[in-house]
């Protein structure tokens, strides 16, 4: 704003009033916002990127489960059996299944990021294919881990 170039702008009182009016006008005008997440069509690379952050945050709190299990094992048989029973319940297994998937998805997404850090894999079609592959891969690997876990029991 070229306030000082306008006649009378150096008059202190008027100057302040003008600024106040302008700032009122500013707050009333609907200014255009830059495009935000909600207006984009979800593409695989974007979905995997968002999932990477969500799974990361979930694992951050999910690690408490592992800490709890370790403490239980270190505390003695009675408490270990108690915690083991909770984790072996239907809800417990469901949470652990989700934890496994989050871990695998975050790892596959992370490996993709390591290749991006090295400068590989930025081609449009290739990066979309890799993003889809991490999604399919995470579900397949999680399923395999649980199949093996049940098979060796």
């Amino acid at each position: 704003m070229r306030l000082s170039a306008r006649p009378g702008a150096l008059n202190g009182v008027r100057h302040l009033e003008e600024i106040k009016q302008m700032s009122d006008v500013d707050s009333q005008v609907k200014r255009p916002l830059s495009p935000h997440l909600s207006i984009y069509k979800p593409v695989p690379t974007m979905v995997v990127s968002i999932l990477h952050r969500i799974t990361g945050a979930a694992l951050y709190f999910g690690v408490l489960l592992f800490a709890w299990w370790l403490i239980a094992a270190a505390s003695g048989e009675a408490y270990f059996n108690y915690v083991n029973a909770i984790m072996g319940s239907f809800i417990g297994r469901l949470v652990l299944f989700g934890f496994t998937w989050a871990l695998v998805q975050h790892m596959l997404g992370g490996i993709k990021h390591l290749f991006w850090d090295l400068g590989y894999g930025f081609d449009k079609k290739f990066s979309i294919r890799i993003a889809l592959l991490t999604l399919i891969g995470s579900v397949a690997i999680t399923g395999m881990i649980w199949l093996v876990a049940y098979a060796i029991r």
Partner: protein, 124 residues
């Protein structure tokens, strides 16, 4: 590995240079084999009795690698959560508060896991 000029100029707005970025990548690389080991251990211990779990966890090799899983994993998740906080929390006070919580939480969980692993290793 830093020149004096980069020391005063290259630290960026977070004031810690490229250290955060590099440590995030370093731990992510370490986490790949460590997590495979971690998942393999837990899968094979699935549904096992208390004595079988103690037996496995008191093996020096298993507890050593489990300790590495905890150190690398928890440092990695501390760095990751820091980025999430810095991205979404804009108030200076709440940001500082959450960053402190993040550090305390990570160190607390890490120490708890480490103590449990060491106890299982040395005492059983």
């Amino acid at each position: 590995m830093r020149t004096p000029l980069s020391k005063v100029r290259g630290l960026g707005s977070a004031k810690d240079g490229t250290g955060h970025f590099w440590h995030q990548r370093l731990t992510s690389l370490a986490n790949i084999p460590l997590v495979v080991f971690f998942v393999w251990q837990l899968v094979s211990l699935n549904g096992e009795t208390y004595s079988a779990v103690i037996d496995r966890m008191s093996s020096p090799l298993v507890s050593a690698v489990m300790l590495l899983v905890v150190i690398s994993g928890i440092y990695h998740m501390k760095l990751g959560m820091q980025v999430i906080i810095e991205d979404y929390i804009h108030g200076e006070t709440s940001k500082l508060f959450l960053l402190i919580c993040n550090t305390f939480f990570s160190i607390a969980v890490g120490v708890i896991c480490a103590i449990a692993i060491l106890k299982l290793c040395f005492v059983g």
